[in-house]
C-alpha cells in the first residue's frame, strides 16, 4: 500500500487512510435527503403514532385516550377480517407476480433484438397511473357493458382475483425489469461449465439461475410485500372494499376510518400498525434469506 502513495492518486489506488473516505461524500451531502426524509416521512409517522393515542374527529384538538384505539384494533372484527384479507392478497399477489416476473425477466435477459423490443412493450403498464389502470379495468369488468359481462366484482372470489390480476398487470413489468437485470449479471461461464457437465436448460435454470437470483428475489419480494400492504387505489376504484366488506383490506379500512368516518385516531392506529407490520416483515424477510449478510452470489468465482 505504501507504494501507491508515490503514485498520483487515482480512483482505484489511493492511500489507505484516504481510501476509506474517498468513495464517500461528506456527511453534509446527506443533509437534504435527511431533511426531506425527516419532514415528509419521520414527522408524519410520528404524528400518526401520536394521533393513534388520541381521539380526533378532525376538528378542534385531539383528545388523549391512551390505548383505546389500539385496544379497538385488537377487538374490531372488521380489523381481523381486513388483516386476513391483506395477508391473502399479499400472498396471492406475491405468488402471481413472482412466478410471472421471474420467468419473463429471465427470458428477457437474453440479448436478441426482439426481446429488447418486447421488454419495452411489457414495461408500458408500469408507466400508467394505478388510478388510470383501475378505471380501465373497472370499465372492462362492467357487468352490463364491459367485455366480460359476468358479475366478476360482485363475488368475493371474483373481486379478489380481479384485484390480484390488476395489481399484477401493473407491477409485473417492474419486477420483470429487476429480474432481467439480475439474470444478466449471472456470468456466462457458469452456464458454459454446466453445459460441458451435460446440464440441460431446466437443470441450468434451477441450479444456476434461481440460486444466482436469490438476492434479486429477496429485493423483489420485499418490494412486493410492502407494496401489497399499502395497496389501495385499485381496491377503492374496483370494489370499494365490497361486495359487502369482502375486499376491505387494511389500507382501505384505514381510509374509511380516517376519511369517511373521521375517526382519525383509529385510522392512525391502523396506519401505525401497517408501518410496524411492513417494517417487521421486511426485516424478517431480509434476515431469513441471508440478504442482510450481503454475501455475494459470486463467492468462490
Amino acid at each position: 500500500m505504501t507504494v501507491t502513495v508515490e503514485k498520483p492518486p487515482t480512483a482505484r489506488k489511493r492511500p489507505a487512510h484516504r481510501a476509506s473516505r474517498a468513495g464517500r461524500p461528506h456527511a453534509a451531502w446527506a443533509l437534504p435527503g435527511v431533511l426531506f426524509f425527516t419532514f415528509f416521512a419521520v414527522v408524519p409517522m410520528a404524528l400518526a403514532l401520536y394521533l393513534s393515542f388520541t381521539s380526533w374527529d378532525g376538528l378542534g384538538d385531539p383528545r388523549p385516550v391512551g390505548l383505546d384505539n389500539w385496544k379497538k384494533l385488537l377487538d374490531d372484527p372488521r380489523m381481523t377480517q381486513s388483516l386476513w384479507l391483506t395477508v391473502v392478497l399479499t400472498v396471492a399477489s406475491w405468488a402471481f407476480q413472482t412466478v410471472v416476473a421471474l420467468l419473463l425477466g429471465v427470458w428477457a435477459a437474453g440479448r436478441q433484438r426482439n426481446r429488447a423490443i418486447l421488454s419495452a412493450v411489457f414495461f408500458v403498464p408500469f408507466l400508467l397511473s394505478s388510478t388510470a389502470i383501475a378505471i380501465l379495468f373497472y370499465a372492462l369488468l362492467d357487468p352490463n357493458f364491459g367485455i366480460i359481462q359476468k358479475d366478476t366484482l360482485g363475488s368475493q372470489s371474483g373481486a379478489f382475483l380481479a384485484i390480484v390480476f390488476v395489481g399484477g398487470w401493473q407491477f409485473i413489468p417492474f419486477h420483470t425489469l429487476i429480474y432481467q437485470g439480475g439474470a444478466r449479471q449471472i456470468p456466462d461461464v457458469l452456464y458454459q461449465a454446466a453445459a460441458i457437465d451435460g446440464a440441460g436448460r431446466y437443470r441450468q435454470f434451477f441450479s444456476i439461475t434461481l440460486p444466482q437470483l436469490r438476492h434479486t428475489i429477496t429485493t423483489s419480494t420485499v418490494l412486493m410485500v410492502v407494496g401489497s400492504l399499502t395497496y389501495f387505489e385499485t381496491v377503492l376504484i374496483l370494489t370499494k372494499g365490497g361486495p359487502g366488506t369482502d375486499t376491505a383490506i387494511l389500507p382501505y379500512l384505514m381510509y374509511e376510518a380516517g376519511f369517511k368516518t373521521y375517526d382519525f385516531g383509529y385510522a392512525s392506529a391502523i396506519a401505525s400498525f401497517l408501518v410496524l407490520a411492513a417494517t417487521g416483515l421486511s426485516l424478517v424477510l431480509v434476515r431469513l434469506t441471508g440478504f442482510g449478510g450481503m454475501r455475494s452470489t459470486r463467492e468462490g468465482m
Partner: protein, 464 residues
C-alpha cells in the same frame, strides 16, 4: 375519497346520493376524483395528508373584507358563482364592506376537505353542507353561527324559503343553514316504453309492485336498476320502506341518538322485504357490482334492461345528459308505493330537502356573510336554479316552475315536496359521517346477502 359526498361517494368517494344535488353528467367523474385525491392523501401518509390539508384550505379569515365560501364543485356551481358575482356588485356588499370569494371543491373531495379546513386557521367563512347530521360535528365544536334569531328577525330570510325545508336542516330546533340548491326527493322512475309494451302501470301498492316484478321477470327484464356498489342507492329502498311501514318517527328516534330505534319491528320488516326483493331477482343478479356514479345503473335503466329505478330527482338530469331521447320521451316518474299494513303516509318523502349554506362562527364579517345568504332568497337566484333544471326551495318557486326546462316534472317534484307531511333527510346525512358510513357497510352486507335481516338489525343497534 368515493369521500366524497354527493352521488359518489365516495365518498364517494362514496357518499350519499342525495347529497349530490347533481345530475349524472356532473357526478360521472366524481369517483375518479375520489380515487386520485384520496390515493395521494393516503400515500403521502395519513399524517402528512392531514397536515397538508390543514394548512391548505384556502384563505378565510383575514381582515373580513374577502370572505371565503366553500362549495361542492359540480356543474350546478354556476348558479352559486352567478349568485356570488351578483352579490359582490350589490349595495348590500358595499354596505358590509367586502366581497365573497367562491372556492369550488371537487365533489368527492368536498367532505374531507371541508373537515380539515374547518380544523385549520384558514377555514371558510361560509360553507355548503347537507344540513342535519352533516353539520353536527361543527355545531358541537362551536364552529357554527346560530342563524335562528337572524332568520326570525329578517323578513327576507324568514319568508324566503319553504318552512319545512328550512326546518329539515335543523339541529336541535335551531337553524344553522340557509337553503341554497334545489330539492332532491327520491322518486320512483319508470321506463314508459317498457311499461306500455307489457301493459303495466306504475305501482301504487306493494302488491302491485310485486305483480309488476313477476311480469317483468317473465319478459326477461330486470324490474329495478340498482347501483349496489355505491350502497347509497340501496339505502333509498330502506328509507322508503321504513317510512311507509312505520312512518317518519321510526328513523327520527334513531336520528335523535337512540340506537335501540333500530330494533323497531318495522326496520326488521323493511329488511325482510329487501331480502325478498333481492332473492326474487328484483334487482337482477349483478347489482352489487353496478355503480350509479359511473353511469352503470342509469344506462341499464335507459336501455330498457331494467324497467324502474328508485333514485333522487337528479336522475332526470342524469338521463337528459346521457340519454336525452329516453329522458324526453320515455322517462316516467311516480311516488313510492304504499306497503300493506304500514302506517306511514304515502305522501311522505325521503331524500335531501336541499343543501345549505352555514356560517363559520369565526368569521370576521358576519354582516357580509348574512347579506350573502339573503341573495339565495332572491328571485334571480331561484330563477337560475330553475334554468339549471332544479326546483328551488324558495317560497316563490311555484311561480317560476312554468319556465323550467320540464315544467311537468318540476311541478311534480314541487307538489311532492310541498304536500309531504314529512320529509326525511337521507339517513346517512342525518346520522353524519361516522355512523352513516358504518350504516352503509351494514346495508351493503344486507343487500349482498352477507347478513340476514335480523343480523342487520342487530348490527345496526350496535353502531356507535
Amino acid at each position: 375519497m368515493e369521500s366524497s359526498r354527493g352521488q359518489s361517494t365516495g365518498t364517494n368517494a362514496g357518499r350519499s346520493p342525495g347529497s349530490g344535488p347533481g345530475d349524472g353528467g356532473r357526478s360521472f367523474s366524481r369517483r375518479w376524483f375520489l380515487g386520485a385525491g384520496s390515493a395521494s392523501l393516503v400515500t403521502a401518509g395519513l399524517g402528512a395528508g392531514l397536515t397538508a390539508c390543514g394548512s391548505g384550505g384556502g384563505g378565510g379569515g383575514g381582515d373580513g373584507r374577502t370572505l371565503t365560501a366553500f362549495v361542492y364543485g359540480d356543474d350546478a356551481v354556476k348558479v352559486q358563482q352567478a349568485g356570488v358575482d351578483r352579490f359582490n356588485k350589490s349595495a348590500a356588499a358595499k354596505k358590509a364592506g367586502g366581497t365573497i370569494k367562491l372556492q369550488k371543491v371537487p365533489g368527492s373531495d368536498y367532505s374531507p376537505k371541508l373537515r380539515t379546513a374547518m380544523g385549520s386557521p384558514s377555514a371558510p367563512d361560509v360553507f355548503f353542507n347537507w344540513g342535519g347530521g352533516s353539520i353536527k360535528p361543527y355545531e358541537e365544536a362551536g364552529k357554527l353561527v346560530d342563524l335562528t334569531d337572524i332568520i326570525e328577525g329578517d323578513p327576507v330570510l324568514k319568508d324566503g324559503f319553504l318552512p319545512s325545508v328550512l326546518a329539515a336542516g335543523d339541529l336541535g330546533g335551531h337553524h344553522y343553514g340557509i337553503p341554497m340548491r334545489g330539492m332532491q326527493p327520491v322518486i320512483l322512475f319508470y321506463n314508459k316504453a317498457v311499461f306500455a309494451e307489457h301493459k303495466l302501470q306504475p305501482p301504487t301498492t306493494w302488491d302491485q309492485l310485486l305483480d309488476n316484478n313477476a311480469k317483468l321477470k317473465k319478459a326477461g327484464i330486470t324490474p329495478f336498476a340498482l347501483g349496489g356498489s355505491d350502497v347509497w342507492p340501496e339505502l333509498m329502498w330502506l328509507e322508503y320502506l321504513v317510512d311507509r311501514l312505520g312512518g317518519p318517527e321510526v328513523f327520527k328516534r334513531i336520528q335523535d341518538g337512540d340506537a335501540e330505534g333500530w330494533g323497531d319491528p318495522t326496520v326488521l320488516r323493511a329488511a325482510e322485504l329487501v331480502k325478498e326483493l333481492v332473492d326474487d331477482g328484483a334487482f337482477g343478479s349483478k347489482f352489487t357490482s353496478v355503480s350509479y356514479v359511473n353511469g352503470g345503473a342509469p344506462a341499464v335503466f335507459a336501455r330498457g334492461k331494467a324497467a324502474m329505478h328508485l333514485m333522487g330527482s337528479w336522475e332526470y338530469s342524469t338521463q337528459l345528459g346521457k340519454f336525452p331521447d329516453f329522458a324526453r320521451k320515455n322517462l316516467g316518474w311516480a311516488a313510492f308505493p304504499t306497503v300493506e299494513g304500514g302506517t306511514g303516509d304515502v305522501r311522505n318523502v325521503v331524500g335531501n330537502p336541499t343543501n345549505y349554506w352555514s356560517v363559520n362562527a369565526r368569521t370576521k364579517n358576519k354582516d357580509l356573510a348574512v347579506g350573502f345568504l339573503k341573495d339565495c332568497a332572491s328571485e334571480a337566484y331561484a330563477q337560475a336554479l330553475i334554468d339549471n333544471g332544479d326546483v328551488p326551495t324558495t317560497s316563490n318557486a311555484a311561480d317560476l316552475l312554468a319556465s323550467s326546462p320540464n315544467p311537468e316534472y318540476a311541478t311534480f317534484q314541487y307538489d311532492m315536496v310541498q304536500q309531504a307531511p314529512a320529509f326525511t333527510l337521507s339517513w346517512d346525512q342525518a346520522l353524519g359521517d361516522g355512523l352513516g358510513t358504518k350504516m352503509h357497510t351494514e346495508i351493503g352486507k344486507l343487500f349482498a346477502g352477507k347478513s340476514s335481516p335480523s343480523e342487520f338489525v342487530t348490527a345496526c343497534k350496535g353502531l356507535k
